[in-house]
Amino acid sequence: MPIEVNGKTFETDEEGYLANINEWEPGVAEVMAKEDELDLTDEHWDIINFLREYYEEYQIAPAVRVLTKAVGKKMGKDKGNSKYLYGLFPYGPGKQACRYAGLPKPTGCV
């Protein structure tokens, strides 16, 4: 189902992931979060931006386990754990944060 952001239409796949990662803009995450009734804080944005950088460098959306490790390495162990990440993204940091970031669904995620 396409989503509307600031008057622009963005195509998504059947699970709500953006069809074209290059079209992404921050408003996409805002609109998706609103649909999930979630307010995006700086802590959410840290993870979203981290995922975008990760994709830029490695061309994949990391599995949640890998994301957790990588976040811990970059932002410290208090953030690199599932409790913290699930606290921010209750539908699963891999799936939900990747979707907000415009990334495809993580490889290996069912």
Binding site: Y58, Q59, G108
Partner: protein, 135 residues
């Protein structure tokens, strides 16, 4: 974990022209979720999968070359490269990417898990593996 098996992925094809290299990489990434002991061998034209600066996007495929560098994060312990295949293509280890590996718990680190091996070592590695996937 009681049931850890040695998985070996054998990669023998160029990264472009067919889907084998990308498919292999995806299976490795998915399989990594199962906490097995995973190694990869690159032979024949498969060695081109690790050549620095490659870009498959011109071949109507996603450019998945940067993804190899994340394999260490996915728990892959060894990327073996057949020496004879490198030599036959005028390549040396200098031409290949480096992939780091780190154990987050123990903080044990390996700067580069890409390792050229000779034919005898390849044979031995294959013999030691409990599950072999060939691409």
């Amino acid at each position: 974990m009681s049931d850890i098996k040695k998985f070996m992925y054998l990669n023998r094809r160029a990264p472009y022209g067919t889907i084998y290299a990308w498919e292999s990489l995806e299976v490795v990434l998915i399989g990594a979720a199962f906490d097995q002991e995973v190694s990869l061998i690159f032979m024949d034209d498969g060695v081109f999968q690790l050549v620095k600066g490659s870009d498959t996007s011109q071949s109507d495929m996603k450019n998945f070359m940067p993804t190899y560098r994340t394999l260490g994060d996915y728990g892959v312990r060894h990327l073996y490269v057949d020496k004879a295949s490198l030599e036959a293509r005028g390549l040396t280890q200098e031409d290949l990417i480096e992939v780091a590996w780190e154990d987050f718990e123990t903080e044990e680190e390996v700067d580069n898990i890409v390792e050229p091996v000779d034919a005898d070592q390849v044979a031995q590695l294959m013999a030691e593996s409990e599950v072999v996937f060939s691409f």
